[in-house]
Symmetry: C2
């Protein structure tokens, strides 16, 4: 099943079902006004949404219309929590090697995760308004999951059973803030403005065998200003989403609609490129003694897409960085 949220007068948007080929959509507000409400009542909502999805794919949904990704908000524009892991250790290892950072203790046995702001998540084609190019504007291509409610201190196995939807994310990062925020020990804050989401959230069955070991085993194709930048695969996560969820829930409940991110997708070996500029700069630093690729300027564009059976799964993130209005 594929679901999306169209922009509306409500901050939560309005729920639609999207056809498997992403071409058509059908209003689903008779099931739930928005995706968050559907997740809060999933046992009731899921079979009704599934029935509508089957009608839509069969060309039999009344009032169906063309799906326009430009009109899509993030699947959950204001989510209960946005907990972003850093589960591809290859990425962290490259950064540490390039910039002489000390290794993170226990990183191979315990997931890394920070809490992101979750009240203003952006749509796939929304501009990225940011205050200053000097902040080191970067994209980060990620996969994520949206969970049902998760009890405190639950096991990875139980956590896996609470995964409802898969998503694709651009976790925008401002690299000028990161080193200072890491040194303080308080973690990322100014370094992490609003994240953006591909237009469509999908149930795991929509990617068949590519949903494996609680990992999205798809290539995430990244283009920066129209040029190939990388297409790393999600299968190399050192921790599965089951483990990331259990980590997040160790000392707290997670509300239905909480989003858990994988961190920048990153593959060992160097042939798959990178899903963020900082990692390419790290590779350049290691190879040549200095980074070469510049961070994003206003007007720069990023495109992110993951395909299964030669079709985009989540739709496409296509965004441009712009200067935020001065206050």
């Amino acid at each position: 099943m594929k679901l999306a949220t169209l922009k509306s007068d409500s901050k939560d948007g309005r729920l639609v079902v999207v056809s498997r080929d992403l071409k058509r959509a059908a209003d689903a507000t008779q099931v739930a006004p928005n995706l968050l409400a559907a997740l809060e009542n999933w046992a009731t909502a899921e079979p009704r949404l599934q029935a509508l999805y089957e009608q839509l794919n069969a060309g039999k949904a009344q009032g169906a219309f063309d799906f326009d990704a430009q009109q899509a908000a993030a699947p959950i524009p204001r989510a209960p929590q946005w907990c972003d892991g850093s589960a591809f250790l290859n990425h962290g290892n490259l950064m540490q090697t390039a910039f002489n950072m000390p290794p993170i203790p226990d990183a191979e046995t315990m997931p890394l995760m920070y809490q992101g702001g979750s009240d203003d998540l952006l749509g796939a084609c929304d501009d990225l308004p940011l205050p200053d190019e000097a902040h080191g504007i970067d994209f980060e291509g990620e996969f994520g999951v949206i969970v049902d409610s998760v009890p405190m201190a639950c096991s990875p196995a139980k956590a896996a059973s609470r995964i409802r939807l898969l998503v694709q994310i651009n976790d925008v990062s401002l690299r000028a803030f990161g080193p200072r925020e890491m040194k303080t020990g308080f973690g990322f804050f100014q370094a992490k403005p609003s994240s953006s989401f591909a237009p469509v959230a999908v149930t795991p069955d929509e990617i068949g065998e590519a949903w494996k070991n609680a990992r999205v085993c798809l290539d995430l194709a990244i283009e920066f200003n129209g040029q190939w930048f990388g297409d790393p695969n999600g299968r190399e996560m050192n921790f599965g989403f089951d483990q990331l969820i259990a980590h997040a829930a160790t000392t707290r409940k997670l509300s239905a609609g909480t989003i858990i991110g994988s961190g920048t997708v990153s593959n060992a070996g160097g042939k798959k490129g990178s899903a963020c500029i900082a990692e390419r700069r790290a590779i350049e630093q290691i190879a040549n003694g200095a980074p070469k690729t510049a961070f994003m300027k206003f007007g720069d564009r990023v495109r992110m897409e993951a395909r299964w059976q030669d079709q985009p799964v989540f739709g496409t993130i296509e965004q441009r960085v712009v200067q935020a209005p001065k206050e």
Copy 2:
């Protein structure tokens, strides 16, 4: 004006106005169903709530009833963001001295802040369910503000103009996780379970001259298991709430209803005690070479109250730590 949120079928609770002496309440759902909705529409809601507040104080509000803090949820049980500063440098300095931690770079010129989970904020008298005493369970007494929408990159002066309400907070902390999470650079996550809030949020005029330089200049009286633990004053914040808000909004908008915390209230000189156990342990470590006061056990109780003109301003936090149900 004093406002509270009573528990209801809605996760956002229902809005009531509370009398200045905290004894009576009046339903305010004809103005807005909950406090978050009131903040999202403050220009319209504020004068109507103020009128109701004046009627209530005059004993003329129709349908008024006794206010019961036991029935209060957090003022905003699921808030857009919970951004917690650490603005009392005395606290950080004590911790660093006691435990030989390196000083935090720029801490005197740039606020420290982490992002907390904001989807499950607890009421003043709610039990604190936690999984394990071995996690080093601690309270932290704080003040906070609730803001209207704040634009990205706004000045401290403009930030000050967006403060709508003051709150009093128990920022529960699990000390066993803190050092590792600080070392990773990703910041606090498992160390920060749900925070709790005193039952009543108040407009700044409710504390007269004690709202000064964007600081809540009140003693915060802390009792641990019925014994005095501290009564540090909020005036010694090294950064005002105006600066904390501007820091939080440097690279992001803040949605109306975002909560900004002061961090543990802490005063220099040692006579005012502490607002958290970790700080008392630091003082013991410095004085005697070892900490003596134990962290909280299941069944332990904490009480927090701030008075102005000899009356509690926000009501009282009175909580007990309990074992979370096993999953």
